[in-house]
């Protein structure tokens, strides 16, 4: 706990937030985020453990006894497919956009209206078929100026007349300092992020600030498993890759012997580093395609370590190690730590292969 307090990210978070807001070299993350290759990588990076994704949620509802259904094999397959679809929906990553630009625009000036009202008046078009972002909201200042409402006013008025469940009109105090830091120190990452998703729009500077602070805290504390099997893990991975700070997460994957995840993370990093935004038309690189072929047969959860003892696996493991070594040598910041972790992994897997070979020989003799 003391370690984490030393690294409380008030100033560091703001620093990175400013960078994010400006964009690293003023790039817009949304141009990269929505590409299908990036989306697929974000989905694959997630653990996707069904127990955690579909865990029973205590939302203050009255519990009922579970229902039971008799199913044939076909029914079961149909359900499994439905679950895969539902999994995709539940693990859809909240969109990463750059901070929104001001939209205030003066429509008319009427100095003769000055003194008519002593407070600002806001008008909103409450037609139900309009999008909240597009509906017309105007403000009449006390000095008579008619202008379009700014984002803050828009948020408040939309929430008053067309409320979103779970959202408050004014920003909850937990998103202000020092409460936000206290929440993060208590490791309540998922509840902070969930509430931020409800409260803010993705291009709200406050949303970007809160989520950046949370991801920084998670990264500093290395508590990535808290966000695993939630939709926020993909956003965390994107954030770290965007800001070129994937070393801690890479170390985490190597220590857990999840080499395929490590390779995917490096791919994501490379994709986000490219100067041009990725479009779905650009063909994937040779490396990426070979890796995806090698890994498409792996389990959906992606949490298994290397399967035992066949040569093809050791070959693919060799390719993975090459990619990781290449990144460590060329692009990493924490080179010695990562190299050591990789060495340890190689020792361990060699040991494991030797033991399995000896066992097979012993079994063969018997």
């Amino acid at each position: 706990m003391a370690f984490r307090r030393l690294l409380s990210f008030n100033h560091v978070g703001n620093n990175f937030c400013r960078k994010y807001c400006q964009g690293v070299a003023s790039r817009d993350p949304s141009l990269y985020f929505f590409s299908s290759r990036v989306q697929e990588l974000l989905f694959q990076l997630n653990d996707r453990q069904h127990d955690l994704v579909f865990k029973p949620r205590k939302l203050g509802q009255k519990l009922e006894a579970p229902q039971y259904v008799f199913m044939t094999d076909e029914d079961l397959d149909k359900e499994r497919r439905r679950i895969e679809q539902r999994l995709r929906e539940k693990l859809q990553v909240p969109p990463v956009l750059g901070p929104r630009k001001p939209i205030e625009r003066v429509l008319a000036k009427d100095p003769r209206l000055e003194g008519l009202h002593d407070s600002k008046l806001l008008c909103i078009d409450i037609s139900p078929d309009l999008s909240d972002r597009k509906r017309m909201i105007t403000a009449r200042e006390p000095d008579g100026t008619l202008r379009t409402a700014n984002w803050h006013e828009r948020g408040r008025i939309n929430q008053i007349f067309l409320p979103v469940d779970g959202r408050t009109v004014t920003m909850p105090k937990m998103f202000e300092e020092p409460h936000l830091t206290e929440c993060l120190d208590r490791e309540e990452y998922v509840s902070v992020l969930d509430r931020a998703c409800v409260q803010f729009e993705p291009d709200d500077p406050d949303y970007i600030r809160v989520t950046s602070a949370t991801y920084d805290h998670v990264d500093a504390a290395r508590l990535y498993e808290r966000l695993q099997s939630t939709r926020h893990f993909g956003a965390l991975a994107f954030y770290l890759a965007w800001h070129r700070r994937i070393d801690n997460l890479l170390l985490y994957f190597i220590q857990l012997e999840k080499l395929d995840q490590a390779v995917k993370l490096i791919h994501l990093y490379r994709l986000l580093r490219s100067a041009e935004p990725i479009s779905d038309q650009t063909p994937p690189t040779r490396q990426e395609s070979s890796q995806s072929d090698g890994f498409s047969s792996s389990s959906e959860s992606g949490s298994e370590s290397e399967s035992s003892s066949s040569d093809s696996d050791s070959d693919s493991e060799g390719v993975q190690l090459d990619i990781i070594r290449d990144y460590i040598e060329n692009a990493s910041v924490k080179r010695p730590v990562l190299e050591l972790a990789l060495q340890n992994f190689q020792h361990l897997s060699a040991e494991r292969r030797r033991v399995e070979r000896e066992q097979r020989r012993a079994d063969g003799r018997q």
Binding site: K58, L63, E64, P66, V69, F70, T72, L76, R86, K90
Partner: protein, 471 residues
């Protein structure tokens, strides 16, 4: 000798006898009338005559002898507490309200009484240091009365013991609902982890040819180890202890194993009956508790079921029938594996709080799973209908209060509509501003609640102090 004229009121049936008191004629004279007729409870009146200077000042009646000095303690107590033979057969003269005899001699010493005197030879030595000890009156013992009373009260109160809430049964200090410990060990079986609860303890009578009405105590109890093993037993005996012993032994001898789902509830809803008792049992989620008849609750505690709903219809006081019905239902339960096997289909669990994730609970063991074509069109695939074998428990809609149908109810709802969210608004105002206030509070400070203003000041003062301390 002066002649004294005395007038003594004559009482019916009393003969007079004259016994002069002290020899001094000028002192008060006592005349006693005692009755010779033993057993007759006529009061004896003695007359205290105050005489001074040959004038009779007054006559004061006093009773110094009567039935309670002339009868023995046993006879007196029998009179007060006695119950006739017929009454005793009916069980009268027992229980909480009965008068108990007290030994009034306890705490008393011969020679010591209300008047605290030293009687040489009785409660004092005759000779002390060679000298003759004289009769002496000593100062009154003030506490003697209260001491005697305390001693007497000690032995009077019925030994009613207090039970802690965890030990308590269903009512008072009575045994039903209370634990009587595990069954006694038999050979190698030590009944470790078992506990027995009495469900019924009653006095039963039967007419016999020889002795007429005979009385026995009947005890019905259930025993279990909280992990599925449970059994019930009935014992009868002349005394309560004998009946309890027998029923505990029998309960331990007749154990059954009950399967539980996830260790806390039954596998599915079921209906069961025994004699006139019908029970509808429903499975409940973890944390719900035991919402059922108290006898069923005790049985569930012994089995290890912690969440259940059960509705008993029919005679709810017939604990033995209820127990037997419930046991039958528990035994007839089908586990998930059994259901999958008998249907030859997968059994899948859907929980609404887990987004209806299909959790495969059981697959058929021996035979392969049937396909859609192999299932006949008229086969019942609905789980509830299969469990109840085509029947369905009738669920009446919950009864609404009479006034909800009346038109004035709508008027009432309209009137209180604006108060519906009041609680939530107060809470959010307190969270945001620290007080319940309106948007006009800044402009018109007098409209703030007095307490709110006071606490705001205190908070401000505390913050200022804190700032000063920091500085």
């Amino acid at each position: 000798m002066l002649s004294l004229k005395l007038w003594v009121p004559k009482l019916a049936g009393a003969s007079t006898c004259f016994r002069p008191g002290s020899s001094c004629l000028l002192s008060s004279l006592k005349v006693q009338q005692c009755h010779h007729a033993a057993g007759r409870l006529t009061p004896v009146l003695s007359v205290l005559v105050q005489k001074q200077d040959k004038a009779v000042l007054g006559i004061q009646p006093s009773r110094n002898a009567g039935f309670f000095t002339n009868m023995s303690a046993n006879e007196l107590w029998k009179g007060v507490t006695g119950v006739s033979n017929a009454g005793r057969k009916r069980g009268r003269g027992r229980g909480a309200g009965v008068k108990r005899r007290r030994d009034l001699n306890r705490g008393q010493v011969i020679g010591v009484g209300k008047v605290n005197m030293m009687w040489p030879g009785l409660n004092a030595p005759v000779l002390r240091n060679g000298e003759l000890v004289r009769q002496q009156s000593q100062p009154r013992d003030e506490q003697r009365e209260s001491r005697l009373q305390a001693i007497r009260d000690q032995f009077t109160d019925q030994r009613s013991f207090k039970l802690t809430p965890l030990e308590r049964g269903w009512s008072g200090n009575r045994l039903p609902g209370r634990s009587i410990g595990p069954p006694d060990a038999v050979d190698f079986e030590t009944f470790e982890g078992f506990d027995t609860t009495v469900l019924e303890l009653k006095t039963v009578f039967s007419m016999t040819a020889t002795a007429g009405r005979t009385r026995h105590i009947s005890c019905f109890a259930v025993t279990g180890n909280g992990a599925g093993l449970v059994g019930y037993g009935l014992g009868k005996g002349n005394t309560g202890m004998a009946a309890i012993k027998q029923c505990k032994r029998r309960a331990g001898q007749r154990l059954i194993y009950v399967e539980r789902c996830d260790g806390h509830t039954v596998f599915h809803d079921f209906f069961t009956r025994f004699a006139a008792v019908r029970i509808f049992v429903e499975r409940r989620p973890r944390g719900h508790g035991l919402q059922c008849h108290r006898a069923i609750r005790e049985i569930c505690h012994r089995v290890g079921i912690s969440d259940l709903y059960a509705k008993v219809e029919g005679p709810t006081d017939n604990v033995q029938s209820i127990t037997k019905a419930f046991f039958l239902g528990l035994l007839r339960q089908r586990t998930h594996q059994q259901l999958a096997d008998e249907k030859r289909l997968h059994l899948v669990e859907l929980r609404p709080e887990a987004d209806n994730y299909p959790r495969l609970v059981a697959s058929p063991g021996g035979a392969p799973v049937r396909s859609k074509e192999q299932i006949p069109a008229d086969e019942e695939l609905d789980f509830q209908l299969h469990i109840f074998e085509g029947k369905v428990p009738l669920k009446m809609p919950p009864k609404q209060p009479f006034y909800m149908k009346l038109p004035c109810y709508q008027t009432h709802l309209n009137k209180v509509k604006h108060l519906k969210n009041q609680e939530q608004v107060r809470v959010s105002l307190l969270a945001e501003h620290g007080e319940v206030r309106s948007f006009l509070a800044d402009q018109y400070p007098e409209c703030r609640a007095a307490s709110a203003a006071l606490w705001a000041e205190k908070r401000q003062a505390a913050e200022d102090d804190q700032e000063q301390d920091e500085m």
